[in-house]
């Protein structure tokens, strides 16, 4: 299993899955603590209308217009949620539900209305991506990792996801103290003169960026699951934010690797011919990790107990 075939067929998707999971889990930690966990859910729903509009404007299935469209849609959604919440005096959940279901419905309608049958763009793909198809045809074995010519044939999602992951990690490290302060005690952070609103917006934009890049590679189920499950599991293990973030990165990586391997090879071990959805399996594994943490985590008890 660990041979030339593995390098070509399984290594790139596993790496992309890990990077996507980590890029989503890191901002997820802060969203979770700020009780904005469902922003990730909302963002991943509105990505669909974003890419459809990006496609309709440029009429090409190139990555950048679509990612720009998706990023734009995410920011529009966040602003809409905030303004509807204020203007209509609604609870955040209801405002979120109104905005993301409307935008998602609009996206499906646009997709049906425009002739996208010729291109690779449909709702199913948007929901669960196609991690398995991100293969590296130029690889002939482990040696290819050192071969510049073969490396050029890597699926473009891999470097893109790596850069996104790097940016998310970098920004988090850079803004660590202000983010931490404003997450745990917004009033105190404001009293210190920190730009609390700008920080909150930066966090949402970072989450949107991770969601859009990851969505392109792996579909929105993994995005939602990785925003919430690894940070939530980590939260039940420790009281320290730094530990929580590291743990969530570990859980995210574990989910991605274990999920991909189980989905790709599990059915073969059981004697079936086909593999099953890697995205679904990764989400399932992350859920199992969360369930274990909720059952046995050392810091699982509610505050009052």
């Amino acid at each position: 299993m660990i041979g030339a075939e593995f390098v070509a067929l399984s290594l790139p998707p596993i790496l992309i899955g890990c990077l996507a999971a980590i890029a989503c889990a890191i901002p997820g930690n802060f969203l979770l603590l700020r009780r904005q966990a469902l922003i990730g859910d909302a963002i991943s729903h509105v990505v669909l209308p974003g890419i459809v509009v990006g496609f309709l404007v440029t009429r090409t299935v190139s990555t950048w217009p679509m990612m720009l469209g998706a990023g734009g849609a995410a920011i529009v959604a966040v602003l809409l949620i905030e303004s509807i919440r204020r203007a209509g005096r609604l609870e955040p959940g209801a405002a979120m539900g109104v905005v993301f279901s409307t935008m998602f419905a609009g996206g499906v309608l646009l997709l049906e209305q425009s002739d996208t049958s010729s291109v690779h763009l449909d709702v199913q793909h948007a929901l669960y991506g196609n991690l398995e198809s991100l293969i590296w045809l130029d690889a002939t074995g482990w040696a290819s990792l050192l071969d510049a010519q073969a490396l050029a044939g890597l699926p473009p999602e891999l470097p893109r996801m790596a850069i996104t992951c790097l940016i998310v990690t970098g920004v988090t490290a850079l803004l660590w103290r202000p983010l931490k302060l404003s997450t745990f005690d917004e009033g105190f952070a404001r009293a210190l003169g920190l730009p609390v609103r700008a920080l909150s917006l930066a966090l949402v934009i970072m989450a949107a960026m991770a969601a859009v890049a990851a969505f392109d590679a792996v579909g929105s189920i993994i995005v939602i699951a990785m925003f919430i499950c690894p940070p939530a599991a980590a939260r039940l293990m420790t009281d320290r934010l730094a530990h929580q973030v590291w743990l969530s990165v570990g859980f995210a990586t574990l989910s991605a690797i274990l999920g991909y391997v189980l989905a790709g090879y599990g059915p073969l071990w059981l004697g079936f011919d086909d593999s099953v959805s890697a995205a679904g399996m990764i989400a399932t594994v992350s859920g199992l990790i969360l369930a274990l943490a909720a059952g046995f985590g050392p810091r699982r008890a509610p505050r009052s107990a």
């Binding site: 979770l32 009780r35 966990a37 469902l38 990730g40 859910d41 729903h45 509807i84 203007a87 005096r89 609604l90 609870e91 959940g93 209801a94 979120m96 539900g97 109104v98 279901s101 409307t102 998602f104 419905a105 609009g106 499906v108 309608l109 049906e112 209305q113 709702v123 199913q124 929901l127 189920i221 939602i224 699951a225 919430i228 499950c229 939530a232 939260r235 039940l236 989905a263 059915p267 079936f272 011919d273 086909d274 593999s275 099953v276 959805s277 995205a279 679904g280 399996m281 990764i282 989400a283 399932t284 992350s286 859920g287 969360l290 909720a294 810091r299 699982r300 008890a301 509610p302 505050r303």
Partner: protein
């Protein structure tokens, strides 16, 4: 029905009934401020649908019987609800994190099962993907009947449980104090929403059913502050949304029913957000402007009463337009009378506010409200008696 095809009429009727039932049951959920629990419920139905299909096929059936699939979806949605409750109560995670976790994991597991079904190659395509976004093309009479009966039962239950659910939604603390078991009321509420979700996924699809539960109540909330009326308006709004949306989608191909119904509901919401009396944006903006004008007018009149000319442009323009001041900033005849009245009112208020015994009445002071609307003529006469002894010259 209006020259529609049989299928379109069937879908429109089903969607209307579903919309009304979803609006009514959703009201309690939205008033309870737990709107997104319905999203978790909806996504949690997917593994149940897939498992029900597998079980039915294993038992030698066709696997596509709607009742069987709905039963399976109800079971897994219930399991999802229990998980949300467990994560919220037994761990320190907040409810939104629990919702997100259950939603994504159940949905992911459901997708996993769908690919298992595909790889089993059962010869006949299950077509379970249609539950994601709904499909009305092949709706049968029996499907419409299932929706009608299920929706009717859920609505009936919601109406019977109306009082405890509204009490728990508006004031959980009070509800507990009166001996209401809020956890059980909540459970009933969730059960009803679950029932609606399960019967609605065939038409609207499980990704978008949350809109049918949330949109009508938040729209209705703009039009009334009374719990019972919100429920009623949400029911009507939901029914109309379903009916109109289904009819629009029947007018042309490429208009998928579920998304069109949702967008119809969103249009109703946007319209209400703009034009609803009192809570709408337009009413709020107009109210602010009226308030601003009243403050300027009042301050201008008080200035005139003290014999100061008015220089502030906006105030002066308002005074001139009302015929109370001349363009040079001095008072007209009517202006002097109005100014005297404003000054008298202000003086009365000052007496009232200086009296600690009248604290409650004085709390109505906002610089605009005429004192006659707060006090009786007798009380005003008492105040005037205290105003009267001015130093005689």
């Amino acid at each position: 029905m209006w020259g529609l095809g049989y299928n379109a009429a069937l879908v429109a009727t089903g969607a209307g009934l579903l919309g009304a039932a979803a609006g009514i049951t959703g009201s309690f959920l939205v008033l309870r401020k737990r709107a997104l629990v319905s999203d978790a419920i909806a996504h949690a139905t997917l593994p149940g649908i897939a498992l029900a299909f597998l079980v039915m096929v294993a038992l030698g059936g066709d696997g596509r019987s709607l009742a069987g699939l709905l039963m399976g979806s109800a079971l897994s949605a219930w399991l999802g609800l229990l998980c949300v409750g467990w994560l919220t109560h037994a761990t320190r995670l907040s409810e939104d994190a629990a919702i997100g976790a259950v939603l994504s994991v159940f949905f992911g597991f459901g997708i996993l099962l769908l690919t298992v079904i595909q790889s089993l190659n059962l010869g006949r395509q299950a077509g379970l993907e249609t539950f994601l976004l709904g499909a009305t093309a092949g709706m049968l009479y029996s499907d419409a009947l299932t929706i009608a009966i299920g929706g009717g039962l859920a609505t009936l239950a919601a109406l019977v449980l109306r009082r405890p659910m509204l009490t728990a939604a508006f004031d959980p603390g009070y509800a507990i104090a009166t001996g209401l078991d809020v956890r059980r009321v909540d459970l009933a509420m969730m059960g009803l929403v679950m029932a609606i979700t399960v019967i609605g996924i065939k038409i609207v699809g499980l990704v978008l059913i949350v809109a049918m539960v949330i949109l009508p109540p938040v729209t209705a909330r703009f039009w009334s502050d009374r719990g019972n009326r919100v429920v009623l308006i949400a029911g009507i709004m939901g029914g109309l949304t379903g009916l109109v949306g289904a009819l629009i989608s029947a007018t042309a191909p490429n208009l998928p029913t579920g998304p069109i119904i949702v967008l119809t509901g969103s249009a109703g919401f946007a319209l209400s957000l703009l034009i609803a009396p009192r809570r709408g944006l337009l009413a709020t903006v107009l109210g602010q402007h009226r308030y601003q004008r009243q403050v300027h007018l009042r301050q201008g009149l008080l200035a005139l009463a003290h014999g100061h000319p008015v220089y502030e442009r906006f105030t002066l323009r308002l005074l001139i337009r009302a015929g109370l001041a001349n363009p040079d900033g001095t008072a007209t005849e009517t202006g002097r009378a109005a100014a005297a009245r404003a000054l008298l009112d202000e003086s009365r208020w000052q007496v009232l506010r200086a009296d600690p015994a009248q604290e409650i009445a004085a709390s109505h002071y906002d610089g605009l409200r005429p004192i006659e609307t707060v006090l009786t003529p007798d009380q005003i006469a008492q105040i005037d008696a205290r105003l009267a002894p001015r130093p005689l010259t």
